[in-house]
Each structure stands twice: as C-alpha cells, then as structure tokens.
Subunit: 234 residues, 2 copies
C-alpha cells in the first residue's frame, strides 16, 4: 500500500474487515492487530482496489496483514452506520507511524461502509505476523477481548452469530477438526462455538441428519473405555 | 433525486438493490421495474445518501420506486464483481428520459458495489407504482423472468437461496400467511419457495420443532373432510 496514492488506488468509501475465528483444544479465539502509536486493537482490514472483487480484496488484506493465505472467507454482512467510526472518539489517523499526505488522511477520515468476512481456522496451524501499521498480531480469547477500534466489537458479535448459523447446516468443522474424529470431539467444537452444552443423543441425531460427515468403519484404539467410532467430513 | 447533484448527494460507488418476493395462492413472483427508453427490466434500486444507513436507503429506495413501505427488508449479500455492469453490454444511461449532466452520467457509469436486500410479501396486498425513470412496475413469475439489467439475474438467484435458508429457521411465513392457517396451507408456501414436494409428516415435525408457530386450539369448519387444526405464528 502506497500511503500517498491510497485515494487513487482504492475504491472510495468501501472497506473490508475480517473476523478470523481460531479454534483449538476447546478454546475459541479471534485474531486482532494492535495498531502502532494509537494503542488500539482492530480486526485485520483494508480497502478494495479500483478493479478488484471484494472477495479477492479480503484474501489480499488478510495475507498482507497476517501472512494467512488460502483461508475460506465467507462474506456475512455489510456495515453501513454513517457514525460507525465515531463510536471510538476522535481517533487521530495522523498519529500512525506511516507518513500520509494530507489528501490521504482526508480520504481515510471519510465515511466507510465495510464488508465483513469471517473464517474458522485451527489457530495452532497459523503464525500471525503483524504488518507495517501494527506492532502486534495475536489471538485473543473471545470472552476476553480488549477495547476495539470503531465498531469492531459489534462486527465480531455479528460474525459470531453468522458462524453459529453456518454451523447449523454447513460443514464448518472441517476447517478445524483432524481428518478423523469421534462424535464427542465434534460435539465439543459445537458446544464451544454455540456457548452451551448439547444433549449427546440430540447432537448425534442432528449431525448425522445433516449429511456432512460419514462413519469410517474404524474405531480409535487404546483408550480405557470402549473404542469410539471415527468419522470424517464428506 | 436531483439528476444533477446525484454525485454530491450520494456515496460514490455504492448502490442498493431490492429483491421483493411476492407470494399469493401458490405462486412466487418478483417485483421488477421497466426502465423507460432503454427497454430493460431491473430490480428496484438506488443509492445511499452521504449520511444515511444502507438499511434506511433500501427502505427509501423501495418506497420511492414502488410505493411499498414498512416492508421488512433483510440484507443478504454485497455484490462486488468489478465487471458486474458489463454483463449487459454497453447500456447507454444517457438515453434515460431524465436529463443528467455530464458529471452525473460519468458518476453513474462508474463502478458500483451493490448491497442486496430481500423481502417476502403478499403480492395481493400491494399495488406497485412506477417512478419517473420507469414506465412499468409489476410482478413477474419467478420461473418466467425477462432479460434483466446488469447482473440482476444473478442477484435474484442469490436472494432466492437466502430466502430458502431463512425459511429453514426463521418465521418468514408470517409476512404472507393469513393470521390463522392450517399446516397443509403453510406446507404449500414452503413447497413453492423450496421448489419441491415435502413429506407431510416430516414437515409437521420440523415446523413444530422450530417453535415459530403454535396451535390455536381451534379448527376450520365447513370442509368435506375432518376439520383441520388452525395455527398462528408466535
């Protein structure tokens, strides 16, 4: 990103924000960047090039900001409150360590409608790396998020609702489960994301009814109890 | 809308498109406007004012274009293909009967990312009225749509998928069903929107499991068969 041609290279008034949920070993986290100088945590985000699809912009932004790539991002909502950047007081963009021209600062300070994307990944498999604008990039426990830039807390809340909806009828688990897993292991993923206990028999009936997983005809050996059946995503 | 200040009054590069599904008596339709002079059917759409929420813009656009108001619109997807307006050849905006300045025409010919909204209404209860730009506004059978402007056919397809998803877990039917209805009547709505037959017992089990309707403890009298139970949305 060239700080001085930003208003020429990108579409005015439209941005991208990515809510990257990470799951590993019973814990659900969100990937955040800490902006230099202004002392604010924010979602990985950016702008759309003049001739770029928003989906491509989201992939590019995510890999530029975090070195994550090839992640299945889903667009979930576009946020258009005209005051969405005022929820955070008078943030002074000019304090950012990268030197912007006056035109670029005016452009950034304008109103932005932001297109939200989310993904679910295994946070143990990715090594987030901060970009030029940020001093830190790391996973935060969903229940213990810091103060976030602008309306980013609202965007995270909406993304969690979208993730929970998707979990009800799409094979979201395949991005974070091992290739072979037991039903209790998959149930744990659902319980953590949905934030509640699920009845074991109801879960079994519902998940098998969705036709997104199949039994492998194998069992896991070695435990103290009866060897549980292994499943895989279709 | 003032044709000459359009580029000053509205956000650049962002538009709104509304897919209004109408249901009545076993038929599913879509509301379309026929643009004057250029001979193209299009979705009701428009732009976002500089200080307006996209949701408010969608309500305003819909009522300006069609005289429909107080409709529960749901945002479902934002369409950002940089070539989305080229799918329709070289449409000449300057042929529109309203006189635009050269600046306004350049503005309209720019790239637009469009935020899609959908609604489900009883088409028998609304009287669509065309606006200044259009010579006709009417319902079209979903299976027999005419050639549409830009990528509007793709937007309708995506809205239908969103409507079908919403139907699986939300009380979409309450906008088109009478206050009291029988389960076979509600099943017909689902069959028409989903485009397939549903097993009667599966439907009964599923819809009652959703907790979106309740039995009224009344039956409908007067038929030749056993009086069916009446239900209402919660």
């Amino acid at each position: 990103m060239n700080p001085n041609s930003i208003g020429k290279d990108y579409l005015d008034h439209i941005s991208i924000d990515c809510v990257i949920f990470g799951f590993h070993n019973k814990s659900l986290r969100v990937l955040l960047l800490k902006w230099k100088t202004i002392n604010r945590w924010a979602l990985p985000g950016g702008f759309i090039k003049k001739n770029e699809h928003a989906d491509a912009a989201a992939q590019r932004v995510l890999s530029e900001r975090t070195e994550l790539s090839n992640i299945f991002l889903r667009q979930f909502h576009t946020f258009s409150d005209p005051d969405r950047n005022k929820a955070d007081g008078n943030l002074d963009i000019s304090l950012l360590p990268v030197r912007f021209s006056k035109e670029a600062i005016d452009w950034i300070k304008g109103r932005f409608v932001t297109i939200g994307y989310f993904a679910l990944v295994d946070f143990n498999k990715v090594k987030p790396v901060p970009d030029l604008f940020s001093e830190e990039c790391r996973w935060w426990e969903l229940e213990q998020l810091p103060v976030l830039l602008y309306d980013h807390h609202h965007i995270v809340d909406a993304a969690l609702i979208a993730l929970r909806d998707a979990l009800q009828y799409q094979p979201m688990g395949k991005y974070v489960m091992p290739k072979k897993f037991t039903l209790p292991e998959l149930q744990k993923l659902y319980e953590v994301i949905l934030g509640k206990k699920i009845d074991r028999r109801n879960f079994r009936k519902k998940i098998l009814g969705l036709n997104i997983i199949h039994p492998l005809g194998e069992t896991r050996k070695g435990g103290a109890h009866r060897s549980p059946d292994l499943y895989s995503f279709n």
